[in-house]
Amino acid sequence: MTESARDRSGSSLRSGAGVAGAIGWIAPGVLWLLLFLGIPSVLLLALAFATRGSYGEILWTPTFHNFKKLAGFGIFGWSSDYLWITARTLWIALATTLACIMVAYPIALFVAARQPRWRSFWLLVLMIPFCTNLVVRTYGWQLVFSLVGKSAIYPGPLAVYIGMISSNLSFAVLPIYTSVERIDWSIAEAARDLYGSRWTVFRHGILPQTIPGLAVAAIITFIPCLGMFVVPDLLGGGRYLLLGNLIQQQFGPSRDFPFGAALSLTLIIATLIALRLYRRPAEEAGL
């Protein structure tokens, strides 16, 4: 850019009307972020370092007590309970995500292989469960389990897994379907033409093209799973605690808001780390 050109573009931005206009355009967005993300985040951060009073009130005395408690240092000495719950939360979120993707992939392929006019029908069928509230659906599972298996799986971890997978499956199907629908099938044919077995055709001709959809499916399954508390509560029979339940307890019966905030902060940080880890392969895949 020449000097004069920079001057001209600069002066148009510096002029009063331009600045006012620009602020006018971004103000609603900034306000929204401030009100519903910025301020709550700051509050949460502050609360995580506050102290719980003897009656559950919040005392603004700075302390690391909440995080020590999470790490297991309680009144009765060290216990691994909270760390176990954190690990278990990460594990179940990961396992649910993997299971959802493995189940969703064939479903997406099935829908994409239908005639175009049938595809929307199948997608609708997949979406119908989401017109029902999660709590109602989970009670539905309770009913099914109590009718079928008796106490063999419900209440217990297996019931929680089934509930988690079923509640996230459609979220996983949609992005995978979007990828599968756009597959360039001639690449699969090329793999076949170059002596590929069925597995090779899938591995090199189909799978790489659906990585973007898989990545989106993974992230939008994993993150809600981290914070899930309704499903473990109703299907785990109170014996299967996750971080979500723990947080809910702090803001509910235990009335320990600072500890709840510390737990929430930990969950948010875990989510951000997961997103960060996911960024790198995503960038390599050219997303």
């Binding site: 001639s186 690449i187 033409d193 002596y195 001709g205 790489p208």
Partner: protein
Amino acid sequence: MTRDEQLRISDISKSFGSTLVLDHVHASVERGEFITLLGPSGCGKTTLLRIIAGLERADEGTIVLDGADLLPLPANRRPLNMVFQNYALFPHLNVFDNVAFGLRIRRIAESEVMTRVRAVLDMIQLAPLAMRRTSQLSGGQKQRVALARALVNEPALLLLDEPMSALDAKLRAEVRVELRQLQRRLGKTFVLVTHDQDEAMTVSDRILVMNGGKIEQAGPPSEVYDHPSTRFVAEFLGAANLIDATRTENGVETCYGPLKLSRGPSWERGTLAIRPERIRVSAGEPAPNRLRLRARDVVYRGDHFDVFLEPGNLRMWCESSNALRAGDEVAIELPPEHLEVLRD
């Protein structure tokens, strides 16, 4: 020269739903021949190629390659390879791994893979780009990688599905010549599908002109061009004047009056064809098939003039305008040896 038939296509038919795409097609390809399936979209040429490749199933008929029945083999066990229209390179592999794909799937020793891939990349002058991702290549480079990926397997037959349709016009003209030279050098049998008659004329030893699921005419480019046997072939390859005619005792009767032919037609009523460049402006001496017509339009086309004559809307090419202007009367000759008698 003894005929060395490599591929025989017999009685192949194929329908998609109620649409008949291939209608009892017969064809034969010699070893080392560059053969082109030429036709408009929907004529069945791509379907025929895909049936040879094993990507589509024929409803009936047989295909024999090197003496063995080809159709029972699945696509991944046929000794032939294909170059796809949009190249279909593996997006997650670099150039080298794309080219090495077929060899590695067949578990060829890695040292041999290295040698063969390098040799092919050298041949198509892509060796410096071996480690590039395919998304970083130009259209012409992708096309060469696709070619290399197929040729490295030393297929008995190379199938090419409109390999140049995604290239721009100038590059296409260059690639055509390169493809022709490559085929000559390798001595391999190439089967190319295209709707571009220029491309077909440039590269082929023989052209199979397809229309409506049938092969209308098969022959070397010069034969198909100079002696078209049907109205479709005459009009699809280059420009042609079609003249309705009725047989008489010593020639035919047309809207231009009686015309002499070099050979008598087998029909009572039918069509003649003559190329615009074969119509001559009369030199004044008596000659057969002399007509006096009026130039309705003279259109400058750079290397020639298109002259439209009336009555009858004959189209003629002139090297120079010879001071011929719209409205002038002109004497022309339709040489009998260039008046082609069509089958239909």
